[in-house]
């Protein structure tokens, strides 16, 4: 008997492994991180993905191009309209259709509204990850206004399915311009609260400044795009580098920082909301009259070949690659999703920080898990 009951001695020098997730509030979905710890210090992180893998790329091979659009909504659901746009642009490029200005401008406004609501949700949930319940309510309060605009024009709140090859599903609602202007005015008036509640908060600053520093070289070699990459000084904004839709006719700044720590990844998103509002300001009064779609053939067949389109979603660069063999279904579709690539750097930047910092670092990369798994 005595032999069986042995005292278990935990060697403090030894590494041990814990699971964070698949169900963990700070992973924002079903992501499992196997974390090796030495005491409280993170030594290694191994992400296990695929819990909600739906095979979207494979599914695309058996459906037509207009049908692909609704699947892209379900990758990065917070950038749904931008994902739609990526596929539409690729298809339009392949068919060489000329898209009128009206469609381009409406697409740009919808994309920027999408970016704003995504960053609002980031702010809300990041505040909650760091222990601030209030942020969540304030963030969702403002996001609700954008979702109402979406609902009125597109019929959907998150899953908008608004773009289609050749244009838009519906014309904008007569109230659209008025509502967007009201929202911009309202949101400019409350954005200071975001800074007052979280950005200036001493506890928040202590927990984020200098934590999870990502150097510029590493950002480039890991391919970190979006606000996370720009916080490290990596100028990677597709809207600037390869302007699509109406981005070539608006003036805006690319938000760049050099520090690359958790705090600046957070700050980059707050600043991007301001830039997005500037972009909308420049376009909202200049929507020309005209049709909201270009008439396409009832069955869209892409000519044989390979087509590629890059767009900037709220989290980084989304690339769509379509290989067509001339049929109504694509031969192969590949999405380069920003979240999947950004996840790769997590181990690199959270090594040797405390486990509580891991929550802050993972939160600041703003993962959307369905986009990782696809």
């Amino acid at each position: 008997m005595e032999e069986i009951i042995k005292e278990v001695v935990i060697d403090e020098q030894e590494e041990y492994t814990i699971n964070m997730g698949p169900q963990h509030p700070s992973t924002h979905g079903v992501l499992r991180l196997v974390v090796s710890l030495k005491g409280e210090i993170v030594k290694n992180i191994e992400p296990h993905i695929g819990y909600i893998h739906r095979g979207i790329e494979k599914m695309c091979e058996s459906i037509t191009y207009p049908q692909i659009i609704h699947l892209t909504d379900r990758m990065d659901y917070l950038s749904a309209a931008i994902n739609n746009e990526a596929v539409c642009l690729a298809v339009e490029k392949a068919l060489e259709v000329e898209i009128p200005d009206r469609i381009k401008i409406i697409r740009t406004i919808i994309s920027e509204l999408t970016r704003i609501q995504s960053h609002q949700l980031f702010w809300a949930s990041y505040g909650m990850d760091m222990g601030g319940q209030t942020c969540f309510f304030y963030g969702l309060r403002d996001r609700e206004k954008v979702l109402d605009i979406f609902e009125e024009t597109t019929g959907g709140r998150m899953i908008v399915s608004y773009n289609c090859p050749g244009g838009l599903m519906y014309d904008i609602h007569p109230n659209f311009q008025k509502r967007v202007k009201e929202f911009i005015k309202y949101f400019r008036g409350v954005l200071w609260e975001y800074d007052a509640i979280l950005s200036g908060n001493v506890i928040f600053r202590e927990r984020t400044i200098g934590i999870g520093r990502l150097k510029l070289e590493d950002a480039i070699s890991y391919g970190i795009t979006g606000p996370s990459g720009r916080a490290s000084g990596f100028s990677c904004d597709i809207r600037k580098q390869e302007p699509y839709s109406a981005y070539d006719r608006v003036k805006f700044n690319e938000v760049l920082y050099t520090e690359g720590d958790t705090y600046h990844r957070y700050l980059a998103r707050i600043e991007e909301m301001r830039e997005s509002m500037n972009i909308i300001d420049q376009l909202i009064d200049n929507i020309p009259e005209g049709p909201y779609f270009v008439k396409m053939k009832p069955v869209i067949k892409l000519p044989e070949g390979e087509y590629f389109q890059r767009v900037e979603t709220a989290r980084g660069e989304l690339d769509v690659f379509i290989k067509s063999d001339g049929n109504k279904n694509p031969y192969r579709v590949k999405f380069r999703s920003p979240n999947f690539v950004n996840l790769g750097v997590l181990n690199h930047i959270s090594k040797d920080f405390k486990i509580a910092d891991l929550i802050a670092i993972a939160g600041s990369l703003d993962f959307v898990i369905p986009d990782i798994d696809r």
Partner: protein, 159 residues
């Protein structure tokens, strides 16, 4: 000495930043007029959804129980996930011609992804979205709906 001053300065600045955040929350606490939450389900009666809201696919019928669906099956082809199944039958009209009409238009709400392709592509505009959003039922079979009402007919003038 300097470091002591620095120390207290940091404490005061830190507390100040917390108070600044508290000021925002207090403002909302004392001005409840700005409250935006709705008391759902108590406000059900006067809750109006936007007219384009995609609640579920329906087939509008007029007063004399007529719809516009010709049974062509285009919506079935366009639906990406097999939500719609159009079952048609052949009837013989008064003047002795054979005609294909719809028997059942089956819609599986549980599978629908609200992509609106069926509504957009229907050549006779027979489908529409309703604003209903309370879809919960106790039995999954109840989500399989037949959109054409019993005894309904094709509207006059729709081919």
């Amino acid at each position: 000495m300097n470091s002591i001053i620095q120390y207290f300065k940091e404490i005061i600045q830190g507390v100040g930043s917390l108070l600044k955040g508290m000021r925002v929350t207090n403002r909302y606490f004392f001005s409840p007029g700005k409250i935006v939450t709705q008391k759902y389900p108590n406000n059900r009666k006067d809750l109006v959804m936007f007219e384009r809201f995609k609640g579920e696919v329906v087939m509008p019928h007029n007063e004399s129980n007529e719809h516009k669906c010709t049974g062509c099956g285009i919506c079935e082809i366009n639906c990406p996930n097999g939500t719609i199944e159009v079952i048609s039958k052949t009837i013989i009209t008064e003047d002795g011609k054979k005609k294909r009409v719809i028997d059942k238009h089956i819609y599986r709400l549980g599978m629908c992804t609200f992509c609106a392709l069926c509504v957009k592509t229907c050549p006779s505009n027979a489908l529409a979205f309703s604003q209903e959003f309370e879809h919960a039922v106790f039995n999954r079979a109840l989500l399989i709906k037949t959109l054409n009402k019993p005894g309904s007919q094709l509207m006059k003038g729709v081919e």
